[in-house]
């Protein structure tokens, strides 16, 4: 796509623009304003049907954090799309339009139209549609924990996804989940990376003050593992061998806790009586494993891979083997922020979904690893992050494994996932059985909104629905989560 330099554009593209105004200062009349609006929506349709923004072909291997691969091709693409959209608006009839263009040539057609339509304005405007849409707040602070689950949230800063949607967002690193939760509740940050159960627990006021929270998108699916200390190599084969173990999980309200308990319970081991489960911030888990204070943990990466890197542990089981496609971490935002800053919220939502889809493409994984490993983000050796994201890794037992979807990214916050989490919270007594599963999941997990956002960005949903799934072979019953919670041999309800 090349810039159309032959067009005689009297307007100064460098000057900032106010909506409804031409560069000559005179406001557009009503008819022209309306036309501009129509053209804008036309443009959006055209944009949506075009390919992904990055104009680098093939595997995008942009090494530098400075040049975001996304921003480059964007401007050029937009300019041509505007021209196309304008022509379409003037000639809505396809056949008429094609005839006109054929006779006159695309450039001339655009030039003719430009003589009475502020094309330059609209190009400038269309290029930053969200900015002109009155973003209430562009300087944002987003909390995160330095784990690979938050990859889309983190990489969106160095790789330009926030900027693309008009936001100046900075990601701020916290050292523990309680900290991130407090930052969110106390408005130290505008949005945050959280564990997928946390928006539910915070909205219910369980384990924290009650603040209505929303989860517009899931960050990652899979991406965890059970790591065991090297001294148990070859000894531990299943839950029965783990009796008396000291485990770590990052937080009480976490998929890690629920999956670990599920796994142990399926093997007949009571997680509260036969083993010890301690809450430890993920970075400390490796040090504890090395020091022999704990025997195993179910943790987010990179701390599983890090244990292998430190030669103190091995990967016993990937969590995807327990539940393929399980949710893990979330992008969370308070209801208050979303309602008081709706445009900003929308732009942020878009950035996240956009970033998530980019992250899920295997071709981008290596570049992402390089972008998020440095001190400002994860502060981990690049090779550890790379092994996690690319799925080509050392398992600590002497082999190199290749599991490309060891971690994957899919933003859809299925309400059935939320109900599963709620069922486990009830199962282990974290919350009473009389909660309204449907209402809570519906309020917090924004399934429909995310689906809309995906479409708006021009992507395709990875799954049509998520009504049926099984965990370790046992199917979940979304219409009766309470029954499901009661149906286990080991359960507190």
């Amino acid at each position: 796509m090349k810039k159309n330099k032959t067009m005689n554009d009297p307007y100064d593209h460098t000057k900032p623009l106010a909506i409804g105004h031409t560069h000559q200062g005179a406001p557009l009349d009503e008819a022209s304003s309306e036309f501009v609006q129509n053209t804008a929506s036309e443009f959006r349709q055209v944009a949506a049907s075009s390919s992904k923004p990055c104009n680098h072909t093939g595997a995008c291997d942009c090494q530098s954090q400075a040049d975001a691969p996304v921003a480059d091709g964007h401007e050029a693409m937009v300019e041509n799309l505007v021209e196309e959209a304008v022509v379409r608006s003037v000639f809505p009839n396809d056949i008429q339009r094609r005839e006109f263009i054929r006779r006159v040539g695309k450039g001339a057609a655009a030039a003719m139209i430009a003589s009475f339509i502020p094309l330059g304005d609209m190009k400038a405007w269309a290029a930053d549609p969200v900015k002109k849409g009155d973003l209430e707040k562009t300087d944002l602070s987003i909390g995160f924990i330095p784990i690979t689950c938050a990859t889309p949230i983190i990489m969106a800063e160095p790789m330009g996804f926030y900027a693309k949607h008009g936001l100046n967002a900075k990601v701020r690193r916290a050292s523990g989940w309680a900290m991130v939760r407090d930052w969110g509740i106390n408005k130290e940050v505008d949005a945050a990376h959280m564990l997928s159960p946390m928006p539910l627990s915070i909205s219910m006021g369980v384990g924290s003050p009650q603040v209505p929270y929303l989860m517009p998108a899931i960050e990652n699916i899979n991406g965890q593992a059970i790591t065991i200390a090297n001294k148990y190599k070859g000894i531990v084969k299943g839950p029965q061998d783990m009796k008396g173990f000291r485990f770590c999980v990052p937080f009480e309200y976490s998929m890690h806790n629920y999956l670990l308990r599920y796994y142990l319970a399926e093997g007949g081991v009571d997680p509260d009586k036969d083993v010890e489960i301690r809450v430890v911030p993920p970075p400390e888990m490796v040090a504890n494993l090395k020091a022999g204070n704990v025997d195993a943990y179910l943790a987010p990466d990179p701390f599983n891979q890090r244990a292998v890197y430190e030669n103190c542990g091995y990967l016993f089981k990937l969590t995807k083997e327990l539940w393929e496609g399980h949710p893990c971490c979330a992008f969370a935002i308070s209801q208050e922020f979303a309602t008081t800053n709706p445009n900003t919220y929308k732009a942020l939502f878009k950035s996240i979904v956009d970033a998530t889809y980019f992250s899920s493409d295997p071709a981008n994984r290596k570049a992402i690893a390089k972008a998020i490993a440095p001190k400002n983000y994860l502060n981990q050796p690049v090779t550890v992050i790379e092994q996690v994201l690319t799925g080509k890794y050392l398992d600590g037992l002497g082999s190199v494994k290749n599991v490309p979807d060891r971690i994957d990214f899919d933003p859809m916050p299925w309400q059935s996932m939320g109900k599963w989490i709620l069922s486990q919270m009830v199962r282990w007594g974290q919350v009473g059985p009389e909660i309204d599963f449907d209402a809570i999941a519906k309020k917090v997990y924004l399934e429909a909104e995310c689906a809309d956002m995906i479409t708006e960005l021009g992507y395709k949903q990875k799954k049509a629905n998520y009504d049926k799934f099984s965990v370790m072979g046992k199917p979940f019953t979304p219409d009766d989560p309470l029954g499901y919670a009661k149906s286990f041999a080991i359960s507190r309800v």
Partner: protein, 300 residues
């Protein structure tokens, strides 16, 4: 200044020469105890070597031979490694590569600022309260049970309560420093004031000093040495508290640095951070003692 003159009898530099010698011995011992044996490829299969390379345990040097990866040591790092890390960090002390990664110069300033605000606030409150308590026996006895109850509580234990009520992490860290520096200064001030030599009070009565003049001209200077003794203790206590407060609150600073290096299991970085804290503390204490000198007096 020749070496002979330095080590000659009565030279005032002799103790410092001894310090250097001790330092040298310590460094040698540290270096010797953390030495790792050179990597010997014999006994490993091709696959083994490849996997060790993939895991980052070994790298190829200039001649293409396998050596232990100097950036990845499983043992506690030796002084050389720490020195390299220090040079690295100090090269760009005022860089800011992102929200979460500021240069060591900035981090020291953030920690210092937090520390000084809390410490000064505590000093003002502690000195005023201490003087009031010291001058009145009734007050001293009435408040004593509360003081004794609150004094032994670790300042870090206040942190969750403060964060819950104050909410702002910066104010919380300042208040943690405040709680740490309050008690020793208050106790020493009260002690100093209540133990002022009777003669000074008699003289002030005799020359009919008004209460303000008496406070400013007699009580304050008389108790100054005790106040400063309290300040120096508080000072150490506050510095000890600010580091973990930063870790727990996620506020950028030197404490935060040691936490982050720990997260990455970069022990050299942790040692470096410890040294920075120690050095900063040393400088501040030196400054405080110089100030204290102005206010001390000898009785005989």
């Amino acid at each position: 200044m020749t070496l002979a003159k330095i080590i000659s009898k009565g030279s005032k530099y002799k103790p410092y020469l001894l310090s250097l010698v001790i330092l040298g011995v310590l460094l040698l011992a540290w270096s010797a105890s953390t030495r790792e044996p050179a990597f010997d490829p014999a006994g490993y299969s091709e696959d083994d070597l490849m996997m060790q390379e993939m895991n980052g345990d070994i790298v190829r040097d200039e001649s293409g031979e396998y050596i232990n990866n100097p950036d990845k040591l499983s043992a506690v790092p030796g002084p050389g490694r720490v020195f390299d890390k220090a040079v690295d960090e100090l090269r760009h002390p005022f860089a800011k590569t992102g929200t979460n990664d500021h240069g060591i110069g900035w981090l020291v300033m953030y920690t210092l600022q937090r520390f000084l605000v809390g410490f000064l606030l505590a000093t003002v409150v502690a000195v005023i309260l201490g003087m009031v308590i010291g001058m009145s026996k009734t007050l001293l006895m009435a408040l004593n049970p509360f003081i004794q109850l609150l004094k032994p509580v670790s300042p870090l234990a206040w942190m969750p309560l403060l964060l819950y009520t104050v909410k702002d992490p910066y104010m919380t860290s300042v208040l943690v420093v405040f709680m740490a520096s309050l008690w020793p200064t208050m106790a020493n001030t009260a002690f100093g004031v209540s133990n002022i030599k009777k003669d000074y009070l008699r003289v002030s009565e005799m020359v009919e000093l008004g209460w303000f003049r008496r406070f400013y001209s007699v009580i304050l200077p008389a108790s100054a040495p005790a106040v400063f003794a309290g300040l120096r203790i508080s000072f150490g206590s506050a510095l000890v508290a600010v580091v973990p407060a930063e870790m727990l609150l996620g506020e950028l600073g030197v404490g935060y640095l040691s936490w982050i290096e720990w997260n990455n299991l970069d022990i050299a970085g942790v040692i470096f951070a410890i040294m920075v804290v120690g050095f900063v503390g040393f400088l501040l204490d030196y400054g405080l003692s110089k100030i204290a000198e102005r206010f001390t007096y000898t009785e005989s």
